[in-house]
């Protein structure tokens, strides 16, 4: 089967500092895959390379079997690559609806239209509202997103990404910073994501990882240490040493 997303020998270094070393990675359609690793392991760098926000020093990135290593971000998004940000990255002063609609409009090729008022582009409005409704945000559609509680802002992050109808979705710590009584809602949303989307989640919270992921890759100092099922990862001694702290095995 053709991978939804694949990297071959992906490397990135800033001068003498190597943050990604020979990463061979594969994400199949419908995958629920977690990328974990200690701070500074290069997880976000990896995501930024996948998205095209950062150019790799060497290696290739394949999206749906096609080489997108040199393709600009806009092109990758058009081919079905979506992401959420670790640090909330929203249009803070715009209404929630517009936050989603701007992405939907890009996907539908409406964003360059200069004549008919945006509010009359029913197809964009309705789709955005529908999406917000499925995430339980329908009542907040007209509210300024910067004024929402943080947990809801994280949901808007996910809503924007889903509005792009991605085939591959990269979730960069979707529940980071959310108070525990709100994170349940986010986990529920993650569980309900369409099954055909290949999802790569980057997460520090092991409860989230082991609940959500069917495969886990451990990244340490820019290198893949091990990849396997949650059971294999949980049982692996090296993972405990480098990731969970050597103290436990002393």
């Amino acid at each position: 089967m053709r991978a939804a997303l694949e990297t071959r020998g992906l490397c990135k270094s800033f001068g003498a500092l190597t943050v990604a070393q020979n990463i061979d990675f594969r994400l199949d359609a419908g995958a629920r895959h977690a990328l974990i690793g200690p701070n500074g392991a290069g997880k976000t760098t990896f995501v930024n390379m996948l998205m095209g926000a950062l150019a790799p020093s060497a290696g290739r990135i394949l999206l749906g079997g096609e080489d997108v290593t040199r393709a600009p971000q806009a092109e990758r998004v058009k081919r079905g690559l979506g992401r959420t940000f670790q640090i909330t990255t929203l249009f803070r002063n715009l209404p929630v609806l517009d936050n989603v609609a701007l992405g939907v409009a890009e996907r539908r090729g409406v964003a360059r239209r200069m004549w008919r008022p945006a509010a009359e582009h029913r197809e964009v409005r309705d789709e955005s509202l529908e999406l917000l409704a499925t995430l339980g945000l329908a009542e907040d559609a007209a509210a300024r997103v910067g004024g929402l509680p943080y947990g809801k802002q994280r949901l808007v992050e996910i809503a924007i990404a889903l509005g792009l109808r991605p085939k591959v979705l990269l979730l960069d710590e979707p529940a980071a910073g959310v108070p525990s009584h709100d994170s349940g809602r986010i986990l529920q949303v993650l569980d309900e994501l369409p099954g055909d989307i290949a999802i790569l989640i980057i997460e520090h919270d092991m409860d989230v990882v082991f609940r959500f992921a069917r495969r886990i890759t451990v990244l340490v100092q820019g290198e893949i240490l091990i990849e396997g099922t949650p059971e294999e990862i949980a049982a692996d001694r090296r993972v405990h040493q480098v990731y969970l702290g050597e103290g436990q095995h002393a």
Binding site: V77, R112, A119, L164
Partner: protein, 324 residues
């Protein structure tokens, strides 16, 4: 009303939006001795609208918008004074095209940068044009300016008269078209996309917008509008001089827009009126000190009323509505 556009905004024209046009027509009939000042104000409103499109709506900061205004002014001037092309609409079209081309080319080069670098590059471009206009005196008249710009009667009927009647209505009509087009643009999906660029370019990249291409496109549209404004200035004065290029007209325009209110559409109307009327009256009363008044006003606006004069009016109206 902030007129921020978007997918939740009602695009219909509200009754208040007709006020500027009613006021302009009232001025035409009631203040016949001020029509040339009026025409100048109308031209600056068009110029300020073009700046608001990129600064207020898209978040591109610039100190070089006079490059397009000045180029438009000189293109109209050279056509009318040197090339014998005296049709007013042809001159406008040529100025618009030239400014658009300059906007596209310089935009493509400088819009890869941001912030202070971008600001300096925009300033450099208009300064270069100023130097060219100064040195190429065989074409531009150099420091003496280009006089004797000939412009045919509008539609073959209305000659530019001494009292500025034709000039005023001609500028008013052009401004009306420019305002209407810009308003449509702001309320369109493209306009919504521009506010997205202003709010968060990282996010715009991530939703698949070709950010750089869009920036160049809006910069070009804005340049076109500024070029038309510049051509109007030449046509109504039948003269063009070096004062249309360089830092000063750019800075002055920026002050006008900030005074009026940035990113609100009608700030671009109020600002030039306030600034140019104040300039006209204060400069007569206090020829040495009037800039002090403008400066003080600007400081007050920036410290206490970031929305400018229109922003103050909005908050007063909102308060009145809350207390029945």
């Amino acid at each position: 009303m902030t007129h921020s556009g978007g997918y939740t905004a009602d695009p219909r024209i509200r009754w208040q939006e007709w006020l500027p046009w009613v006021a302009a027509l009232a001025c035409f009939f009631l203040l016949p001795e001020y029509l040339s000042l009026g025409a100048r104000i109308l031209i600056y409103i068009l110029f300020a609208l073009s700046l608001d499109l990129i600064l207020g709506y898209t978040g591109i900061i610039t100190l070089g918008h006079s490059a397009f205004f000045g180029l438009g002014a000189y293109v109209a001037g050279i056509l009318g004074a040197k090339a014998g092309i005296t049709d007013p609409f042809l001159q406008l079209a040529a100025a618009a095209l030239a400014a658009a081309a300059l906007g596209a080319v310089t935009g493509a080069v400088i819009l890869r940068t941001r912030g202070l670098t971008l600001l300096m590059l925009t300033l450099a471009i208009t300064s270069i044009l100023l130097e060219i206009a100064n040195k190429a005196s065989w074409l531009t008249g150099g420091a003496d300016g280009l006089s004797g710009v000939r412009v045919d009667p509008i539609l073959g009927q209305f000659r530019f008269d001494l009292f500025g009647k034709t000039a005023f209505l001609y500028c008013l009509a052009t401004l009306f078209v420019g305002w209407w087009l810009l308003r449509r643009l702001i309320y369109s999906p493209f306009g919504a996309m521009l506010t997205g660029l202003r709010e968060n370019t990282v996010r715009m990249h991530a939703v698949g917008a070709p950010v750089y291409r869009r920036l160049v496109l809006v910069y070009t549209l804005s340049a076109t509008m500024a070029g038309v404004a510049g051509a109007l200035l030449t046509q109504t004065n039948q003269f063009v001089g070096l004062n249309v290029l360089g830092f000063e007209p750019s800075g002055e325009l920026l002050v006008m827009l900030i005074l009026g209110g940035v990113g609100r559409l009608y700030g671009a109307f109020v600002g030039p009126v306030a600034y140019l009327v104040a300039q006209d009256f204060l400069a007569k009363q206090f020829p040495e000190y009037w800039y002090f008044g403008i400066g003080a006003l600007l400081v007050v606006v920036i410290m206490f009323a970031r929305g400018g004069i229109v922003g103050i009016a909005d908050s007063v109206l909102a308060r009145l509505r809350r207390t029945p």
